[in-house]
């Protein structure tokens, strides 16, 4: 195991995050603030409490997840796609590193970045609504698991993408709808029964539900099932990445 290489990749990726700090942090914070103003303050004041939680507070976990998911995917996919695009990826192939070091470096950095963004949004939310986190440990664990799984997913997208268009297609066409329909802004119990069943096929539902449980102790779905689903997703991603590197698919000829 080449830990020095992991450290090199990790700090290189983090350096980019800090170099573009304004872009990396300001835009998610700004867009989340806008959500709070629109949904929390303006519309939320006319909506009843959900499960005993005010609407403004109810959407906090969902909004954090919304940013964390998209940031994880875009950070990780961009992180590995950019060297591919520049051609500088040759260094990773010719260095004494296996996919384990590469994934730890890139995915570790992407997950760290999105976790930081998640925490900053949590802090931002404090300015807009009153809420308390019931289970801090579970909340942080859920955040970490989500960041890691979706950074893995983003890494896969980055490797498989042939151009910038494809790189943005999946987050735009798949992730955004999944997050919006995953219960960020509503409880799935508010849906008609048929759509409730359909929703269960959306993996994001389990994430948001579990995350919200960590905040308020109530959830649409059993917390155990939520954990299992996210673990399953993580292992599927790891499996795909392992297979990709083993066969050289999309990275070697």
């Amino acid at each position: 195991m080449n830990f020095q290489a992991v450290r090199s990749i990790y700090s290189f990726e983090m350096a980019r995050f800090f170099r573009t700090l304004s872009q990396s942090l300001i835009s998610p914070v700004l867009s989340t603030s806008l959500y709070f103003i629109v949904f929390g303050a303006a519309i939320g004041s006319r909506i009843d409490e959900i499960d005993g939680v005010s609407y403004g507070a109810f959407i906090v976990p969902g909004l954090i997840m919304l940013s964390v998911l998209t940031q994880s995917i875009s950070n990780a996919s961009f992180g590995i796609y950019f060297p591919k695009f520049l051609g500088s990826i040759y260094e990773l192939h010719t260095a004494p590193v296996s996919f384990v070091e590469i994934v730890l470096g890139y995915v570790g950095a992407a997950a760290t970045k999105s976790a930081l963004i998640g925490l900053v949004i949590l802090g931002t939310a404090e300015f807009f609504v009153d809420f308390e986190v019931l289970h801090w440990g579970a909340m942080l664990a859920f955040l970490a698991l989500t960041c890691i799984s979706f950074s893995l997913f983003g890494f896969i997208i980055g490797i498989w993408s042939k151009n910038f268009e494809q790189l943005q297609m999946v987050p735009l066409l798949v992730i955004t709808p999944l997050v919006f329909l995953g219960g960020s802004f509503y409880s799935i119990s508010m849906l008609p029964p048929f759509w409730q069943t359909v929703t269960l096929f959306n993996p994001v539902v389990y994430l948001i539900s579990g995350f919200r449980w960590a905040f308020y102790g109530t959830a649409d779905i059993n917390i155990g099932i939520s954990l299992m689903m996210i673990a399953l997703f993580m292992f599927v991603c790891l499996g795909i990445i392992g297979w990709t590197f083993k066969t050289g698919y999309k990275i070697k000829t």
């Binding site: 051609g87 004494p96 296996s98 050289g248």
Partner: protein
């Protein structure tokens, strides 16, 4: 001397069916400079890409320092530095960070003294804090070389180091290569400039259509294949070459009124003296005489034509 690089029965067929390498065998000794010479698309880059880990071989093996490049890739790759053909650098990274990054990838701790000495050797020290995108093309190439050297490899691959580079910079690059050899680094470079192979290589491998046609000492190659030519320009045009000169196997170029005589440069007798005698006996008056040694280029063109 022990072979630092050993390639056995290496073949590569790309997915589209293109056979880029056909059963290539090659041994390289420590400390030498080998030039892989061949036209574009001959398989030069594929060969070094397989050794360096960029491309998977279809069959065959490659070993560096005794380590298989696939099953023992960590040991093998630690010994290798690669300077790619295309300039590929992170544009916002500074020169010194780029070197530190590469050294880290190879599992080595930062070594400021070593990095400084490499940068100085490549005249990049005063640019150490510049972003790579601010550098000129020649400097970027030197950064690639510096990156390839900063983990102290024993074998350095240079893939077309001077493709699209002006004459000045090419000479400069050759100087760098000679210096590296003096430091004990084994160098394998690909090129389609014969001049380049002639100028810096110890041995030359000629590769064409995925086949390694031959690998030989540059001097031997030129001696073995090298011919001298004497061109004799005549005062008057000839209708036919006189019968008395037939044993010289002369070619006659009517346009320039020139007789061309080819002979072994290192033969005991060149036959020039008797040719001159026979020329005057035949009543031919010479206007001018010129002799020239065939270059590696002539040898190369001869080889490539033979096979096609």
């Amino acid at each position: 001397m022990a072979a630092i690089l050993s390639v056995q029965n290496l073949s590569k067929q790309y997915d589209g069916g293109f056979q880029a390498l056909k059963n290539v065998n090659l041994e390289i000794e420590e400390g030498e400079i080998l030039a892989l010479l061949g036209p574009n698309g001959a398989g030069k880059t594929t060969l070094i890409s397989i050794i360096c880990g960029l491309v998977n071989a279809t069959s065959g093996t490659a070993r560096v320092g005794g380590h298989d490049v696939v099953s023992d890739f960590r040991q093998a790759r630690s010994l290798i530095g690669l300077v790619p053909q295309e300039i590929a650098l992170e544009p916002f990274q500074t020169v010194i960070d780029a070197l530190r990054f590469t050294r880290g990838l190879f599992g080595k701790r930062n070594d400021p003294a070593l990095i400084k000495s490499i940068l100085e050797k490549l005249s990049l020290w005063d640019k150490k804090d510049a972003k790579t995108m601010e550098l000129s093309g020649g400097m970027k190439r030197r950064v690639l070389i510096a990156k390839a050297l900063c983990h102290e490899p024993r074998v350095l691959f240079l893939d077309e180091p001077t493709a699209g580079v002006d004459v000045e910079l090419r000479k400069e690059m050759w100087e760098v290569v000679r210096q590296l050899k003096a430091d004990g680094v084994t160098i394998i470079l690909t090129t389609h400039y014969i001049e380049e192979a002639e100028a810096i290589a110890d041995r030359v491998g000629v590769i064409r259509g995925g086949e390694l046609l031959l690998v030989e000492e540059k001097e031997t190659l030129m001696q073995r294949m090298g011919k001298r030519q004497m061109r004799v320009e005549l005062m008057q045009p000839l209708e036919t070459v006189p019968e008395s000169l037939s044993r010289y196997d002369l070619e006659y170029d009517a346009e320039t009124q020139t007789l061309v005589y080819s002979y072994e440069a290192n033969g005991e007798r060149t036959g020039i003296a008797s040719l001159f005698a026979d020329l005057s006996a035949a009543g031919l008056v010479m206007r001018d005489v010129e002799t020239r040694q065939s270059t590696l280029e002539d040898v190369f063109v001869g080889l490539v034509e033979d096979k096609s």
